[in-house]
């Protein structure tokens, strides 16, 4: 009887915790959305104009000579947007809004042509991206228009839609961590770290197709992982996984790394269940065909032109070029190890030094912990399939980014093109799982109980979350 009472009490506590925590992150996300000034986050202008174009022209935008003319046609909204950008000097600026000027100069306006061709704002550069995210964002845009909201309010409404992807990411992160470890405490800590990271809060507070690719990437990751952990491949899981991959492919091209993961999972499942091949070959072929069609129409041109350029660049590579690219790649990784956690738009350098020191220690502990874990696994020949899948996914993404980094560095002398932590958010949950797992593993050698590590990590990331909201987002947005 006591056991049954404890079980219900425990479940009741968990339900309370999950409900309150979800409420807390919804509230926190809302404050971030309202705080960060519109069009200050990276590329928000171009993502906004993609949606604006899709709704007003009722077609997916592509670069052509008429695009500027078509955007300029709806000139009232354009004027409002670019007067906001110009007067407040917000786009790409890390200075505060220009409060003194803006009170007196609200009527000053650029020409449409000058605005649309502005090299800094460049509102049309995202126009070759796949359309799925923008179709979703067209719902709040169109709804805002129907109820006669002004363009500033519509931008905030669109941001709220972007934030829904954050909730999906956190929920699926919890499920992924629970599947891998089986411990609710571990799963909660992983989901909480993701919800509290300043860089994640910032990323989901703006209009950006990264939000969609991260959410769909996590859904796909969960169902692929479920196939790995199931004794038999379920038709429903395989279909959901493939649909999520298709949605991610329709959101941003780098989700292409999910296809080798899908193939890997498929061949892994054949190893344990020979009949799975026959039973699921239809799903796999259908899924690949489905993915192939999307890639061909929406991402193939981007990937093919990139691949062509890489092939052309290879004969021109000298050892000196390679050495420079290598040096910048090492530097990129050092920057990434902090940027991944802290980058709040352009404000990452405003964190106190002790935060970077603590993060450096955590990163080092996590890497040593994971290396030690795999060393022991190899010796015992007892592999943890969930962790291996996390590492394999990270390796796939990193190989893709490393190739792009070397290509950009050698061909275009752009050495810092991939030094943004948010580019790795497609695998946010697997990275955090490896991070917490590594720290937990190494600290067991010092006989530190798991709960001490969990509380320590939650305390650190809670501090980081509140500190970044008050002392960085609010401080540098308003003051």
């Amino acid at each position: 009887m006591k056991k049954i009472t404890d079980f219900f009490l425990q479940n009741h506590l968990w339900r309370n915790l999950i409900a309150i925590f979800l409420l807390f992150i919804i509230l926190k996300g809302t404050i971030w959305i309202f705080t960060v000034s519109i069009f200050t986050p990276s590329d928000e202008t171009t993502h906004f104009f993609y949606t604006h174009y899709s709704v007003t022209e009722k077609m997916i935008p592509r670069f052509d000579s008429n695009v500027v003319e078509k955007i300029a046609k709806n000139s009232y909204d354009i004027k409002k947007v670019h007067s906001y950008l110009e007067i407040e000097n917000t786009a790409l600026s890390i200075s505060h809004l220009n409060f003194n000027r803006s009170i007196t100069e609200k009527s000053q306006i650029l020409s449409d042509e000058k605005f649309i061709n502005n090299l800094v704002i460049h509102p049309t550069w995202s126009f070759n991206y796949p359309p799925f995210y923008y179709l979703i964002e067209s719902i709040p845009y169109a709804a805002g228009k129907i109820i006669h909201l002004d363009i500033v309010s519509i931008v905030y409404l669109m941001r709220i839609f972007s934030f829904l992807f954050f909730l999906v990411t956190v929920i699926f992160s919890y499920r992924i961590a629970l599947l891998i470890d089986g411990d609710k405490k571990f799963a909660f800590v992983v989901a909480a770290i993701i919800a509290l990271m300043p860089s994640v809060s910032m990323n989901f507070s703006s209009i950006n197709n990264d939000a969609a690719i991260i959410a769909f990437g996590h859904i796909a990751f969960y169902y692929l992982l479920k196939i790995i952990y199931s004794a038999r491949v379920s038709f429903a899981d395989a279909t959901k996984g493939i649909l999520a991959i298709a949605a991610a492919l329709l959101a941003k091209p780098q989700s292409i790394i999910l296809i080798p993961l899908l193939l890997g999972v498929y061949f892994f499942s054949i190893q344990k269940d020979k009949k799975a091949f026959k039973r699921n070959i239809g799903i796999l072929c259908g899924g690949l065909l489905f993915a192939g069609i999307f890639i061909y129409f929406f991402t193939f041109s981007v990937i093919a032109s990139y691949f062509n350029s890489i092939i052309k660049t290879i004969p021109q590579i000298s050892f000196a070029d390679f050495k420079i690219a290598f040096t910048y790649d090492v530097l990129r990784r050092i920057i990434l190890s902090f940027d991944f956690w802290l980058k709040v738009h352009t404000f990452s350098n405003f964190f106190p030094h002790f935060i970077s020191i603590l993060l450096g220690i955590f990163n080092a502990l996590a890497i040593f912990g994971i290396m030690l874990h795999f060393y022991i696994q190899i010796k015992k020949k007892n592999y943890h399939k969930g962790l291996i899948f996390c590492l394999a996914s990270l390796a796939s993404l990193d190989i893709l980014y490393t190739l792009i980094q070397y290509y950009e560095s050698i061909a275009h002398k752009m050495h810092d093109s991939l030094s943004f932590g948010r580019y790795y958010f497609l695998l946010l949950c697997p990275i955090i799982i490896l991070f917490v797992w590594g720290i937990r593993h190494i600290t067991t050698f010092f006989k530190i109980p798991n709960k001490v590590i969990y509380i320590g990590l939650l305390l650190f990331f809670s501090f980081l979350s509140s500190y970044s909201l008050l002392n960085i987002a609010i401080q540098y947005t308003y003051l």
Binding site: F34, S95, D150, L458, L459
Partner: protein, 222 residues
Amino acid sequence: MKKLFFLFIAVAIIFPIIHFVFFSPFYDRAGEWLFLFNQGFKKISKENISSIKQPIVSPSDQFSRIVVNASVSKTSKIRLGISAEKTDNLREEEIFIAPKKEITWDFPQIDNSQNKTYLLQIDIPEESRNNIRFYFFSTDQQSSIIINDEQAHGLSLATHTESKFSTPLEKIQTLATRVKIYKPPLIQIIFFPLMGLYIVLFAVSAWHGLKIILSEEAVDKK
């Protein structure tokens, strides 16, 4: 459990609030350099520089800090000064700078400084010249920077200005005013109540989270 809960509140709520209200009094960072597009064309001085004169504009009252981007290889001495048109030096100081990526100079606030142009003068003694490299960027603005007593065209020193609130209360009042200037009416109304609710929900989440993590019932199988 209670002690841990209060530790969470102290570290994640009280400390950030105290830091925000009392320990970061500077506001209105301004300068052409802060526009990120300008930072793409950063140029580092190669020659030894003995003096720089650069006009700067403070967008606000109580101008009290200048940050100059520079690479300082070891602790060095420099002299900084600000003068206004037709006046002697308003502020002048000789400071020691530590090896860092920037030189921060705090000085007693200059009142009524809003939208006024000042001349920043940096003098580098001979013994410090090898240790400091300044950052410049290309500018379309009519440049009137003078380096080593010679006019340098199309260049500007990477620098920004900041002003200081007189009291924490002034800071809170400015924040409240600015929320009203820039946000749609709904956000103006709910912004501060949401901040209050944030603290309450954080406390409740922390309490429940600690209760569960400290409980013996949940799986601790590793």
